[in-house]
Amino acid sequence: MTEIFGIPLQAFAGQLLLGLVNGSFYAMLSLGLAVIFGLLGIVNFAHGALYMVGAYVAWFSVEKWGLGYWGALVLAPVIVGALGVVIERTLLKHLYKLDPLYGLLLTFGLALIAEGLFRDQFGVSGQQVNVPDALQGATNLGFMVLPNYRAWVVVASLTVCLGTWFLIEKTRLGATLRAGTENPALVQAFGINVPRMVMFTYAGGAALAALAGVLAAPVIQVTPLMGSNLIIVVFAVVVIGGMGSILGSILTGLMLGVIEGLTRTGILGMLLSWPCTKVFGPENWLSEALTKLFGPEGSSTIVFVIMAIVLMIRPAGLFGKEK
């Protein structure tokens, strides 16, 4: 069997793919956050909760309503998008003139409400959603066995992300949206219904989160807490990327997912500690620390470590502009 740094190629590729899958979710969520923040000036803490609701819609659709996975793929964005409309119309619209901190606090409250309601219904144990029949099984690529569903997740979310990018950067609708981000009063003066545009933007961001939830449902345990745990990592991703650019958000999300995957294989730790071992000899605290920090144990904190490093070097983020 082929090995890379003593890790079987199969396991290595598996972790890399898992990283890519996680990265797709980071990309979809941070994209939604960036679009919402751009137009509404609100950092949507409830984004994780919306993602969680999307995953539960998938579970209901498959297990209870008999609509199956493909039904959920349509239904979840619609339901959660409608929920987004309600949230924007009843709550968020009161906050646009206030300090953006209030938006964060309000959506944090919403996330708590959603989490509490679902925990009351489902407890903390996870629900399992089965992979749809058409995507069962795996394809042998020679160097690795590729689970079909994971490949689908990566392809589907990349398509959605690039579609969103195209919509915002290359169409007339997107141009209006971007103009609204720059100067809402002026856009309003051109006869465009800005409040409605804002409403649909929030609904769109919410729908994206729900879609990510449906895609994630078969590869993870669906639990009430899944959203909050993810959203904090996505915040770090957003800080690393900077909320300035759509493509930047997508790229940063994918990249961090992959780095996380590499960390889980231990290869990143080995690569980073290798020069220290060469310089200071086989046993020194620096290479040990690096192996630990960037090794399997550090996979849950790696994104935060990278965030700290990026902030020290480039405070505005990789793709952000300093204001």
């Binding site: 950092v43 209030y102 989490e115 904090i232 849950s300 902030l311």
Partner: protein, 320 residues
């Protein structure tokens, strides 16, 4: 937002009010209020005051304050239980560790303003949470149990709830006066200037980042003190103490009571802890829902909080 009122009668009134509160706090264990509840509420009041120093008087929203409170709780608990330190050195060590962590996180977080500051502190706190989850000395999911109260300075038997209560009360009063002093000092005035208009403070020649960093370290240190005291009161430190939901709770305490007021966070802490205590056995997971609803209602309709509304009402009465 500000409570500094040069009006003499107002100051005299608030002096009487504070004296009454202090008398009530001293009398509390003798009139049948459960001392452990009072101690817990006071610890959270210290925590909320520390947080409010940052949000209310400097304008920085830290979404990760639980990390400092919680890590001090762990450090103090471990030193006293497993390393055999005396309580007073345990408390000092916990406070210093929290302040040191605050220095590191602060150095990173003050590189961005506003909403980014909140996100960065949240992310850094989550990192500290994972470290606490994986570190060998924290007891993982079970937490650090059975921390003995011991004797403070070798004489005060904190094992007695009554003695412990007065220790916590003394610490609370000291912290409260310290914060009062900080806010009213020239340094505190600069913090207010930064809160109101950061670019202007910069153009006036203030090294804004250094002021903010010091405020952050002070705040995290006091939050650590709260955590250390809490470990002695309850006898344990758990992952709940470092979890982001705890960071959310302290925000709510300050918001509900009144940001940027002195009494607000104290009132907010007593309200939330009392509410949780009352609801815990009655409604289960609905506590989270209720906390969430209070958050939403506060942001939409009650942004000044209890004390802020009271001050605004008094001002209206005076002019009208």
């Amino acid at each position: 937002m500000s409570t500094t009122n040069k009006n003499g009668s107002f100051q005299r009134k608030s002096f009487y009010a504070w004296s009454a509160v202090l008398v009530l706090l001293v009398a509390a264990p003798f009139i049948g209020i459960y001392p452990v509840f009072m101690m817990k509420a006071l610890c959270f009041a210290i925590f909320a005051c520390a947080f409010n120093l940052l949000l209310g008087f400097t304008g920085l929203l830290s979404f990760g304050h639980a990390a400092f409170m919680g890590s001090a709780a762990y450090v103090t608990g471990w030193l006293v239980r497993s390393a055999g330190w005396t309580p007073e050195f345990g408390i000092i060590a916990g406070t210093l560790v929290a302040a040191a962590l605050g220095l590191i996180v602060g150095l990173i977080a003050i590189r961005r303003q506003g909403i980014y500051f909140a996100m960065i502190t949240l992310a850094m706190a989550q990192m500290i949470f994972f470290v606490c989850l994986q570190a060998p000395f924290t007891g993982g999911e079970d937490g650090l149990q059975g921390v003995p109260r011991g004797k403070l300075f070798g004489v005060i038997p904190m094992a007695s709830d009554l003695a412990m209560y007065f220790v916590v009360l003394a610490v609370f009063v000291a912290v409260f006066l310290l914060i009062l002093r900080i806010v009213h000092s020239p340094y505190g005035q600069v913090l207010k200037a930064i809160r109101e208009n950061e670019p202007r403070a910069i153009s006036l020649g203030y090294d804004v980042d250094r002021y903010k960093l010091l405020a952050f370290v002070l705040s995290t240190g006091i939050a650590g003190l709260a955590g250390a005291m809490k470990t002695f009161v309850l006898g344990f430190a758990t992952l709940t103490d470092v979890h982001w939901s705890m960071s959310g709770e302290v925000i709510l305490m300050a918001l509900l009571g009144g940001m940027g007021t002195f009494a607000g966070p104290v009132l907010g802490a007593f309200t939330i802890i009392g509410l949780q205590d009352y609801l815990a056995d009655r409604v289960g997971s609905w506590v989270t829902v209720i906390i969430g609803v209070i958050f939403v209602v506060c942001v939409i309709a009650f942004r000044r909080g209890f004390v802020g509304e009271l001050i605004a009402w008094q001002k209206r009465n005076k002019t009208g």
